[in-house]
């Protein structure tokens, strides 16, 4: 009888702890998907704004959800050619804009961004796979807007504007 009571209290304590843990994980998930999250970004496509070796940036999810992004913002986008990959690019054109870009050193092309789409490019135009290759991307692929760099610490702060603006 006493043993049973002891077991019951242990079980109740374990249950309480796991409920608290589950609530904490839920809070973490909601903050991560609806408010902001820190993301490790690497690769040469946003050089010199972001280091090719890797930066940790703070991305917020509110403005993409509410639809208040503007030209020049650095955004996280789910890559159209590989849904498991998220890339960091800068918004060059909004819907209805006419965008002119270099296809190869001799030839220019000019397109109008369709409704509900964005034109995104990396700051390093020589090593970036972006809208120049796969065309404009639907707004629904946006995952967040990069607010500031938080690591390395000496580069802390908002990202400077690219050469485009």
């Amino acid at each position: 009888m006493r043993f049973g009571g002891q077991w019951r209290s242990v079980a109740r304590e374990g249950w309480d702890r796991s409920v608290i843990m589950a609530k904490f994980l839920c809070l973490l998930h909601v903050v991560d998907t609806y408010l902001c999250s820190s993301v490790l970004v690497y690769g040469p496509s946003m050089f010199p704004t972001l280091n090719p070796t890797g930066d940790v940036v703070l991305a917020e999810r509110l403005s993409t959800r509410l639809g208040i992004v503007a030209r020049g913002d650095v955004v996280l986008v789910r890559a159209p050619d590989n849904p498991r990959k998220i890339v960091t690019k800068r918004i060059i054109g909004m819907e209805g804009d006419r965008v002119t870009f270099l296809v190869d050193p001799e030839r220019c092309a000019s397109v109008v961004v369709p409704k509900g789409h964005l034109w995104i490019q990396g700051d390093n135009i020589y090593a970036s796979k972006d809208s120049r290759h796969f065309g404009s991307v639907p707004y629904g692929l946006l995952q967040g807007k990069v607010l500031c760099r938080i690591w390395p610490l000496d580069g802390f702060g908002s990202l400077q504007q690219g050469v485009w603006f």
């Binding site: 589950a22 839920c26 998907t33 849904p83 409704k115 509900g116 639907p138 707004y139 629904g140």
Partner: protein, 171 residues
């Protein structure tokens, strides 16, 4: 004093419930209503649109586990954000996956689905806005896969994978 503390407890409880609901609907599964006739007769088999029958719109269970790997098969019914307006969500059937060749209706040629894209169509070809008008969509727009009808009670059941014959050429 008592009212303040009970109000506080109530707020805390509803906040916690909200957190759990958001997490479950994002990570595991959610229930969403199906409006319109684009998937008739799979969803919404009634054709008139009186007020009473619009209350009886089909509700489907949308599972989110498929979003971890983005692996889909032909004939899956998926919920995705519209490529022209991110606030709208559409429900359609996947007809072709990356690497397939598809015969586009009213055109003679076949089209290759690019990497990371899919071709979606409604079951009701006459009133459906789908890949026939906006082309292949990126898989990244997909928000979940519909597996069961959960409402109204007489239509509860599992959704079948169905494929129109002879549309897709695989190599």
């Amino acid at each position: 004093m008592g009212t303040v503390s009970s109000f506080w407890a109530y707020t805390r409880k509803s906040l916690t419930a909200g957190l759990i609901a958001f997490t479950v609907s994002d990570r595991f599964a959610s229930i969403s209503p199906v409006r319109g006739l684009s998937m008739h007769p799979t969803f919404n088999p009634h054709t008139t649109s009186s007020l009473l029958e619009s209350l009886m719109d089909d509700h489907v269970l949308v599972e989110k586990f498929c979003l971890e790997k983005y692996k889909f098969s032909h004939g899956d019914i998926v919920v995705f954000r519209s490529p022209s307006n991110y606030k709208e969500k559409h429900i359609k059937r996947i007809i072709a996956l990356p690497g397939d060749w598809i015969k586009v209706p009213h055109q003679q040629d076949t089209l290759k689905i690019p990497e990371g894209h899919c071709w979606v169509e409604g079951d009701n070809a006459t009133s459906s806005l789908d890949s026939r008008s906006f082309g292949p969509i990126p898989l990244g727009l997909i928000q979940g896969r519909a597996t069961h009808i959960v409402w109204p009670p007489q239509r509860v059941g599992k959704l079948e994978k169905r494929m129109p014959q002879g549309r897709v050429v695989q190599y």
